[in-house]
Amino acid sequence: MTNDIIRVRLGKIIVYIVLLLWLVLTVYPLIFTLLSSLKSQNDLFSNVFGLPKKIMFQNYYDLFVVKKIQNNILHSLFISCSTIGIQIVICSMAAFVLSRFKFKFSNALLIFFMAGILIPQQSVLIPITLMAKTFNGFNNYLFMIIIYVAFGVPNFVFITTGFMKGLPREMEEAALIDGCSLPRIFWRIIMPLSIPAIASAAILSFFGAWNDLILALILLKNDAMQTISLGLISFTNEQFSNYTGQFAAVIVSIVPTLVLYFILQKQIMKGMTAGAVKG
């Protein structure tokens, strides 16, 4: 009996050790990045692992005052927020119709939308470049936003339609009997009830646009218009020997994402794993 208890205890200890090891492997690189960003170059070279001898905000000062990285952040914020703004309206409208109406092609239409999830975005970049030429899409945020919206439509419609299908119908039926118009029912009843699903889908789209590199690489040739991803890359290219500055740039670029993540972790995890597990 005591042997069993020891075995169970030992098992537990091993479990915690493994979990902690992976925790360190996941989190330590980020902590190391943060610490290094607060060091002077000499401090980093002589003291790679330790805490900063003196906490220096010089790197951040340089990033914001000299490099003006806040512009890159604003560009990315503008693009990402506009993208999800448009998506929230158009995809919820489509999802509402797809979840509430039965017509000849309603099911086929949902499958048609979902087919887009299968298309790797990189495979459409060349035609999009040709379109950019026709529609003056280079160095043009509006064009980029349109593309990001289109890329996100299938997944957004998929997540929101699934959720709306599961909503109880009593309220809308009552509203309908009271003579409420369809657009009003959509806006006043369906939209507010669907906020969890819309939030999940919107955050995913936000990250998609915020984290994108390749489309920005192709479409933005004007240095003054760079997004955060491009800004990061051009910063490393310009200051390839400024290690601590690069660490600071990494931190600046991930802070907005991390803030969002810590506020909305549940929705984010749910949204990203939706559809993978039945139910």
Partner: protein
């Protein structure tokens, strides 16, 4: 309740915006990419465009760099599945037991997934730096200097390192999916197994894995599609060169190079078409299955 006949106009008006975006900037370009792959086309400014039959594909198949990129992709696919799946499963299984602070673990493990691959790669590039990087300094510190390497510029190991960093970033995603999968197994079953004195291996291999094999299948496909799209991480880690000498090249990177650096849109489209077909084929397995389940249950 709502009838289509009475609301035809509204239904159509509600569908049109999403359809318009989706068709014009996703579906149409996808088909156009396939068409372009049969044409000789040199870049955005080109006027000299003509039907080229299968020439783009033939030239591509004769090019050793293409096969190198395919070889790298296969390596990436295989190693990613073999590293991410077991690690994700072991951690997910452990977290499904009676563990304190589960949420701290989950939130931390998932964190790299949402970070931009650009930032993650830059971070690792600094950590793996020859001289001032964390890893080489650590190896020197513990007397293992002989193990220190130019992790990202040594052609023998750079792609292996990139593969592992990519796995590091995405393990958390599959971990969360697997936790959700394991949670669908009933508590009573685990209780019964315990009473029967079933060992950990019996429990895992004879019960848990068979019960969640569909979830594991979804994970495999998601890993494969994610790997196929891997671009940012290699672009950043190799400073945009995919080299030295293309040793870290993958099909998507080659597509980017052919199309946007060398202005060879035809060959670029041929690669894009293969990426498209491969991606659609792979993920349709999962989504069609998932869709059928959703509709039948």
């Amino acid at each position: 309740m709502f009838t289509f006949k009475q609301n035809k106009l509204i239904v159509i008006a509600f569908l049109i915006p999403a359809l318009l975006f989706y068709i014009s900037f996703m579906l149409y370009p996808a088909f156009y990419a396939i068409v372009l792959s049969f044409f000789k086309w040199s870049g955005v400014a080109s006027t000299d465009t003509y039907f080229n039959g299968l020439n783009n594909y033939i030239l591509l198949f004769r090019n050793p760099v293409f096969w190198l990129s395919v070889k790298n992709l296969v390596f990436l696919l295989v190693v990613s599945v073999l590293t991410q799946l077991p690690i994700a499963f072991i951690l997910a299984y452990m977290l499904s037991g009676n563990i304190r602070y589960v949420n701290i673990f989950k939130v931390s493990y998932f964190m790299p997934v949402i970070l931009s691959a650009t930032a993650v790669s830059m971070m690792w590039k600094l950590i793996l730096d020859d001289k001032y990087g964390l890893l080489n300094n650590f190896l020197r510190g513990v007397g293992l200097e002989s193990l220190s390497r130019s992790w990202l510029t040594d052609p023998d190991i750079s792609f292996k390192v990139i593969t592992l960093i990519n796995s590091w970033q995405h393990v958390g995603y599959f971990l969360i999916i697997l936790i959700a999968g394991i949670a669908t197994i009933s508590e009573e079953l685990f209780e019964a197994l315990k009473i029967d004195g079933a060992g950990i291996f019996t429990t895992v291999f004879k019960v848990v894995i068979p019960l969640i094999k569909e979830v594991i299948g979804v994970c495999v496909v998601l890993i494969l599609t994610q790997c196929m799209k891997t671009f940012d991480i290699i672009y950043v880690m190799t400073s945009g060169t995919f080299g030295p000498n293309n040793v870290n090249q993958v099909p998507v990177g080659l597509m980017y190079y052919r199309s946007f650096i060398e202005d060879n849109f035809g060959q670029g489209s041929a690669i894009a078409t293969m990426v498209l077909l491969f991606g659609v084929l792979l993920s349709s397995v999962v989504y069609i299955k998932g869709f059928q389940q959703k509709n039948t249950v």
